[in-house]
Amino acid sequence: MRAPDDENLFIAGTVPDALAALASHGVGAMPFAGGTWIMRAPIRREPQAAFYVSLDRIPELSAVDIAIDRIRIGACVTHSRLAAQLAEVEPCHGLVTAAGSAANPAIRGMATVGGNLSTWDFPAADLPPALLCLDAEVELATTDGRQRLPFERFLATRRELRPGTLLTGVTIPRRPVRTAHARLPLRKAGDYPVAIVSLAILLDRNGAVEDASVAVGSVESTARRWPELERKLVGHPLDPETARVLAEAELGAFTGRDGVEAPGWYRLQVLPALMRRAVDAALRSQS
């Protein structure tokens, strides 16, 4: 592996290697996992870190392990690999849609799960709402050891993580839920969605909703769950039009962010229709 001293990139071979390199270069060092935002920084006249630790040659981080009760996704799995490997795996329908339609094919082939989740200033990211619905956990490693964090906690605290912390993977419990991911780009594809509704629904034997997870992305600065709507869904049969009406009544839960591409009101306004589309897609997916 490369000698790190006189260069600004270290290719790590193992997680301990990477942690050591990050630690030795202090606050100026950052992981490089895909790099689609890091590499575009110069054209945007944004700063780059003084030193990067590349993670793409760490076998552990590039693995997708599918067990009976859980799925573990290494942090350096790209969006396109994630979509391909989980294509027929339940309950990943929504996550596969998220990973398989984000940005464009070139970016999906480079951008990684870990890079995506660590980019805290990316409101329109597709993976966070999808993972929020799946009760995912994030694995973090430091030189002191590893810990797991519920996904929601991770989103809330990711800006304040200790320097030198590495996101190593995401774990998803396999529950018998139906999932879907409805995203709204302004063109047919190729731009970031202005609003996202992701959901995971557990239906009882009679087809009524036993448990519902709904998450909204791109509307606010960070994706978050929609508990007001989730509560309303429970106990009723799952139906796209009913879900749309219920969503319309609970729009007050969010404050839409104004952006260059869309005003805040628009992001809210389209949520009921996205909820309807998501429920429609969930009903079509296998449970």
């Binding site: 260069e7 990139l9 575009r40 094919p105």
Partner: protein, 152 residues
């Protein structure tokens, strides 16, 4: 400081730092100017090359991560100056206008048609979501690629 790369089957050495984007090394050091530097953020696809057979936007790939990988550029598509089947069908369909986007489009479609040799128009269009062409309005080049897929 030097980085050794394998480009179009040849070993090449770059004097640039490891965080340098591949596109800059290809164009400025190796004079392989087929790949175009257009948006430098992965939105236009004009700089697409293959890394280990997969289309990659070379503006976002630092050379330091590419040692030991097989890099191929548009210049390698033709064998002994004989255009590839895709290049030929694009020529037959009179697709080209200004031509700046084609190196990238050819690299994307070459990779895509290898994986989906029987792709239809809709799939071809979806595969091109990361490529901007400002001249042609796409349809004719999609027709050409679909005609090649039908031949496969």
């Amino acid at each position: 400081m030097a980085t050794t790369l394998t480009v179009n089957g040849e070993r090449r050495v770059s004097a640039r730092g490891p965080m340098t984007a591949l596109i800059d090394v290809l164009r400025d050091e190796f004079f392989l100017t087929g790949a175009k530097s257009v948006c430098r953020e992965g939105a236009c696809g004009a700089c697409t090359v293959h890394v280990d057979g997969q289309p990659v936007v070379s503006c976002l790939a630092p050379i330091g991560t590419l040692e030991g990988r097989e890099i191929r550029t548009v210049e390698s598509l033709a064998e002994a100056s004989e255009p590839s089947a895709l290049q030929q069908i694009m020529e037959e369909h009179d697709v080209v206008q200004c031509g700046m986007c084609f190196p990238g489009i050819l690299m994307v479609l070459t990779g895509f048609l290898r994986e989906c040799p029987h792709a239809g128009r809709d799939e071809i269009k979806a595969a091109l979501v990361g490529n901007i062409c400002r001249c042609t309005g796409y349809e004719r080049l999609v027709d050409a690629a679909a005609a090649l897929a039908r031949r496969n």
